[in-house]
Each structure stands twice: as C-alpha cells, then as structure tokens.
C-alpha cells in the first residue's frame, strides 16, 4: 500500500492503495466516482475512458502510481452541470439506450473535439473505434459529435 495525492476534477484527493491499482478502481471503489465504467479490464472497450492531462486514456490498465501530478478529469468533472457541449449534444440526440458505455464515449468524444474541433467522419470513426456500444447507438453518437463540433 502507498499514499497517493491525486488531482481529480480540480480537487486534491488522497488514497492509500496498492500502487498497481488501476485508476478505474481507485475512482470507483475509493473515491465514489462511479461514472467511469468497467467493461473489459484490458483497455479494448473504452468504457473506462478518462482524461489524463487532457488526453483520453483507458483507466482500467493505468496504474495509479503512474499518474503523479497529472490532472485527471472524469465524467463527473467534465462540466459543472452536465452542460459540456458533448453532453448537451448527447441529450439532444437522445443517444443512449442502456447508457452504460456512454460516459466513456462522451469522454473520448470530448477529447477528440478538443484536439480536433471539426473532425471529418473518418476522424470521428478513427477516434471512436475503441469504444464499444453493445446497443449499437453508433449512428447517434456520430451525429451528436457533429452537433457538438458545430458549437
């Protein structure tokens, strides 16, 4: 076990965990930030996507010991009131079916639009291909990203 001070959603948070613990489980089990989801545990489904230093990363294979002072943003910290343009676009298109993967999709989409504010269809597909939606809401996810990108 070791002590880590993490910078999460603009707040300093202290945890005492095994250094190998993935950030996903630190968030979910130790900090009650459960918007970041477990899907595969091997970084291939995208449900656990967070931002580390503004970059989208899979938190399920990211040991807490590697974070250092980098800033972590989770879905809970993406916006103050759920009004990030991507979140608003998601509601406008009523994207979700079961909803489980959508926080990961949103975090990935938000990082994409930050890096490339007006992505082409190919860019969107390339960036979002790592996020599985089992319900098959891809057409709406893409439409929502385009709506958000227009703002």
């Amino acid at each position: 076990m070791a002590n880590f001070t993490l910078n999460i959603n603009g707040k300093k948070q202290q945890v005492d965990v095994d250094p190998a613990t993935p950030v996903l489980w630190v968030l979910r089990d130790h900090l009650n930030l459960v918007g970041t989801k477990y899907g595969c545990g091997i970084a291939v489904c995208g449900s656990c996507t967070i931002h580390v230093g503004g970059v989208a990363m899979r938190s399920c294979m990211l040991p807490v010991s590697q974070i250092g002072s980098q800033e972590i943003t989770t879905i809970e910290g993406l916006s103050e009131n759920g009004d990030h343009p991507v979140q608003k676009a998601w509601l406008e298109h009523d994207v979700a079916q079961c909803g489980y993967c959508q926080t990961g999709q949103i975090m990935n989409a938000a990082a994409l639009l930050k890096a490339s504010p007006h992505p082409s269809d190919e860019e969107i597909e390339g960036a979002m291909n790592g996020n599985i939606c089992r319900c098959g809401t891809y057409v709406r996810i893409k439409a929502a990203i385009k709506t958000a990108s227009a703002r």
Binding site: E76, A96, E125
Partner: protein, 754 residues
Amino acid sequence: MTAIKSTLDRRTFLRNSILAGGGMVIGINWLTGCKNVSGDAALTMPKEWFDINAYLKIGDNGVVTIFTPNPEFGQNVMTSMPMIVAEELDCDWKNVVVEMAKHDPEKFPNAMFGQFTGGSRGIMSKWEPLRNAGAAARHMLREAAAQAWQVPMDEITTEAGVLFHKNSGKKAGYGEMASAAANIPVPEKPVLKDVKDFKIIGHSQKNVDGKKIVTGKPMFGLDYKVDGMLIAMIAQPPAFGMKLKSFDGSAAKAMPGIKDVFSIKTYNDGYEKAGFDTNAFPELVAIVGDSTWEVMQAKKALRVEWEPFSTYTETVSAWGNTRKVSVPAGLENSTDHFAKMEALAAKPGKVVRRNGDPEAAFKKAAKVIERSYSCPHLAHNCMEPMNFFADVKGDKVKVAGPLQAPGFIEPTLSARLGIPAENIDIEMTRMGGGFGRRAYSHYMVEAALISQKVNAPVKLMYTREDDMTNGIYRPAYHATYRAALDENNNLIAFHVKAGGIPETPLAADRFPAGAIDNYLAEEWSAESNITIGAFRAPRSNFIAGAEQSFLDELAEAMGKDPIEFRLELLKRAQENPVGDRNDYDAARYAGVLELVREKSNWANPPAGVSRGVAAYFCHASYAAHVLDLTIENGKPVVQKVTSAIDCGIVVNPDAATNMTEGAVTDGIGNALYGEMTFKAGAAEKTNFDKYRMIRMSEAPKAIDVHFVKNEIAPTGMGEPPFPPIFGALANALYKATGKRVYQQPFLGDRAMLG
C-alpha cells in the same frame, strides 16, 4: 392544503388497485427520481403525497410520480411506460417524475408479465394496465373536483394536469385535488381516450434517465454501494463439462484485503429447477475482500482443481411441465458441433407441419434448389458484466442489481436460502444491457449465498472473462431449405429442416408456411452441456436470416424481383391461406415490405451500391429492411439501411427509432463477426480482444426508420427489427460479390471478404 395520505386501508387499496388493472406501489428507490426533461431545475415531490393508485402518486404541488413496473435495459420502458400513464392521466409530461418500482408480485402479479422485461412483451403486456391506471386516476380527480364544486362529474374536463368546469369558470390543478381523489373509490372500467386524442403517446419524449447517463450518476448495479460492503468474485470451471474437485484458498486468503475464500452451491441437492434456472456452473469458489482490485489479485492466487463430470439428469419444471433433462458429460468442440449438425441435418427430422403432398411435389419437380445455413453460438456480452448486491441478515434478504425477471428468480432464491419470498426485497437497477442474458439471474443467488456466509453486505461482480465464459449463449443452429419448381418456374413445394445444439430454431407456422400448397417442416436437436438461453429474438435471430436468404435465391431462380416474389406469396397467404395454424397476418407482413419498397426507392437504387431486402415477423410485429452496401478494400461498408416496422401504435417514436437503429447495427455486427467457439469445453473467446464486436467504423453510415401508422395496440419492438437484418445483409453481400454466404459469421476474424 393539508397533506393526508390515503385513508383506504391496505387491503381495500390493493383490491381497488387490482380492479384498476394494476397494483399499488409506494416507496422510494435508492436511486432518486428522474426528471423527464433535462436542463431545467429538478422537479421534486413534496414530503407528503397522495397515492392515487397502482402506478402513480401526486404531490400537492402538482408533481406526478409515475412508477415504471418493468426494469430498464435500454429499450426505453422507463420513459415509454410512464408516458402511457401520463397520457390517460392527462397531465403535463413536464411535471412527471419517474421512478423504478421495486419487485412486488402482490402488486404486479404474474411472474411472466408482472415485471419481466423480455420477449418484447413490456409495452405489449402493460398497455392496458398502464392506460387503466392513468385513466382511473383521472376519473378520481374529476370526481373529487365534482364533489368539491358540487357540479356533475361529466362537466369536468381536464388538460395538462388541470381540472376545469367551464360553466362556472372553476379550475384546479391536480395537486389541489389529489388528497380528495385518493379517497374516491377506484373505478372498475375507467373511460380511455381515443387514440386520435393522444398528446403524449406517439410524440417523442426524451429518455428520463438521459441527464443521469451523460453525467455518470450511480444507476447501474455495479455502481451500488452501502457502508461496510465487501466485494466478491467467483472462480468457475474453465470448461463446460467440468466441476469443482477441490480448492486451496490459503494463498489467496493471505493476500491484502481478503476476508474469505470458500465454495458455494447455487442449488440445494435434488432441487427442481425452474425454466430460467439455467446454469452450467452450480458450484463455485467465492473470493471476498475489501476492494475490487484486491479481490481480482487474490483470484489469480487461488488454487483450484476441476474435474470432468459424468452425465447427470436434472429436473426442470416450467410452465406447468416437469421434465428430466440430461446434461451430457464431455468436453465439447465447435468443430464437432458443426459436424454433428450436418450429420443430423442429413437424417429425417421430426415432422412438425405438413401441407399437401410435399414428397410427391418434389418428385415431379423440374428443378429442386437446396441450400443449408448455419450459425455459431453467441455470447450476449452486455457491457455491464453480471453482478448483484446482497445483504442477508438472518431471515431478511435485501438484494439489488441488474435483472430482467425478478419474478423468475425470487422463488429460486427463496428455496435456496429457506427464507420466505415476503422477506426478500428485490431492487432493480438500470441494466447495462440485457439482450436476454439477465433473465437468468443465478448470479443474484450467488451474491446472497456469499453475503450469508460472510455475514455482511456484498457486491458480487463477474469479470469480463467470467461473464463471457459463463454460458447461456445463443445456440448454434443449422437449417436446410429445399424448394421444388415446375417446368414453368412455379414454386410447387417448400421444405425446411432445422435444428441446433441443443434446440431447434424452427417456427413451422410462420411465413412462407400458409403461402405454399405443399409444405413440410421438420426439426431435430442434439444435447449439449453448454448452456443456452434467450438472446435477442431467440431462434428468429438465426432462422430469419436463413429463410430470407433462401427466398432471395429462390426469387432469382424464378426470375422475380425479391420484394414482388414475397408479396405474391403473401397475397396467396392472405386470400387463400394453406392450413389454419399460420401465426402471422399476411396483410401486415406485406405492409412493411410495401413501405420499405417505397421509402428505399427500391426501383432506383443509388449508383454503385448493392442492395438486399429481407423481412420477418416475430414478437407479434413485422419488420423489413433494405440494406445498401459497397465493398471498399475488400470490406463491406453499409451505406444505408431503410427500415419499415409495424409494431402497432408507437409510444415513443424517437426511442423506437433508436431501438431499430440499434437492432440493425447489432444484427450487422453479429452477422459479420459474432461467434463464440469452444475447444475441449472451454469458451475460446474470453474478452473483447478475441470476441469481435461491431465498432463505429463498421456501423451503417445511415439508418432511415419508418413506422406503419395504425391504431393497433402496441406489439413487440425491441426484438422484431433484429432478425431480418441478417438476411438483408446476406442478400446485399451476394449482389456485391456474386457469392452467397451460408455460414455466420460472414467475416469472423478476417479483415476482408473472400
């Protein structure tokens, strides 16, 4: 206004509520209520409210809480069910708060339809009870106003949650009359609205959970947490056909944060299983600890010996029928499954339908076309793995988590724990996908047994690997179709023989049965120890693609347009049906084909695309798709799917459109890539690195959904659009490549066709 709760005693209230077609629901879910619109300030119920009836309560501030009886896994019941109540209540949808009801067989009787989300039965089975609940409440509010204002009740009108008496100019919000209304006897047969007067039903409303979903609020079973809760995981046999021999948990138990390691048996010896007690691994090793990561690590340190089991028999009692089911010993292989299916397909099957004299017709045929189709097992792969919370304290049980059918599993849990059902409190969380998998909730029993053993609240979680290798798969199927043509290319006989491991996918009374004079349907099956279960449109999800591919091939051989050919058969089935067991309405079936023909502009496809069409009837609804694709770098790219659905009245059109888009995408994914294989009994695909799922770049570029407009009470929606997309894709692939595809998955792990 003084807040007075209903003065009716519980017994009277229940009786009245049942008369109104439902049951009373009181109590607040641990999940706070969902507002129906996003962005505005949250609606709140006052501290006290009035239980009007079964499905709703009204606060004196006019806010209406509507309980959704069925659990939600993405098919939108949590929004569309309350819409039905709100419509008949005639309230303002903006003033509605939605809550998930708890499991309560007294209030929602009938295990099958009480609170079961599955079989596309949600809206179909709840249409009348939900309408009656809203209409009864509106009646009671009107009667309360009539009494308060001393005017005849039939002069009281309502609009958007306000009661009016036009002659006197009096008006009052529902909240003002709620307390008096709660004391009015529940009408037996409240007057329902005319369909043409609907203001909420048929008008798209946003998902009531939308804001919570996009902000990551706790709502799924895996998010469930209470103070002092431990985390549990299970170790299950590495292969079907194996069972626990012994284990050594000492190393695992010595690891940080680990509380206990022990084995559990999900059923008592000699237990008579119910229909949804499917479970390949009834004895497991449980690991319990403080945190998920610690338990995951300890699981790796667990030493377990597994051994092959001998053939055994279990008793399964379901739907009034008790039967012995043999579970064969052995470590099965997918390659053997396919060899066995082909061998059985070559033998005579059990005849389940015969019209005319098919054998004679085949004998005199000028041409016989025979084709065989097959598909592998599929895993459901819900994004939220199986999990459940349980807190067993003495003879009181609290369980919470994702499940489709609380009524199916409660008797199982009660029998296993020896605790009466009334002491079991089941809370249903939003499910991260279901697709049939969560109708088999053995994981809830496992969680309860673990909690009981460690005497603490526990959340059991399957890892992705546990989830994917746990069984309850879509079976492997095989179908052989034969058609006899005379010298003028007329279809004179049709023969289908279908089977699978371990069940047949045949639906002998469905189209084209009823449209052909000489018809023969046979079935067969082979037993297996690999457990299977409902998977989005069970059986239809294979047989539709096979049948619709064959009809396409047949149309071509007969020189007919594939839509026109189907319409000719349907015309025959409608005007002069063969046999009297046909289970579809030929006119509605033709209706979706005609609609999709028009909306896809069938006669004039866009340049450069290859088109395929398919249609199917299941779950009382009709669906047809036209799929346009191109081949780019050897890969199929679905440019557009045009869909036509007849599911009766569409409650929430945009959500139904979303469901159809999802079914289309899910179907294309499974048709192209979906496959679970077995080697020496072990499921070979254990996670999403090996199990290929459709990704955004492989999804259709556009999906254009149309609904047949009619006033028929709603029929199935979640499943019907799924089966025919397999056929539309196969037929378009043929147009694009000149090669027919007969075996799913069409692509599998390959990057390119060919």
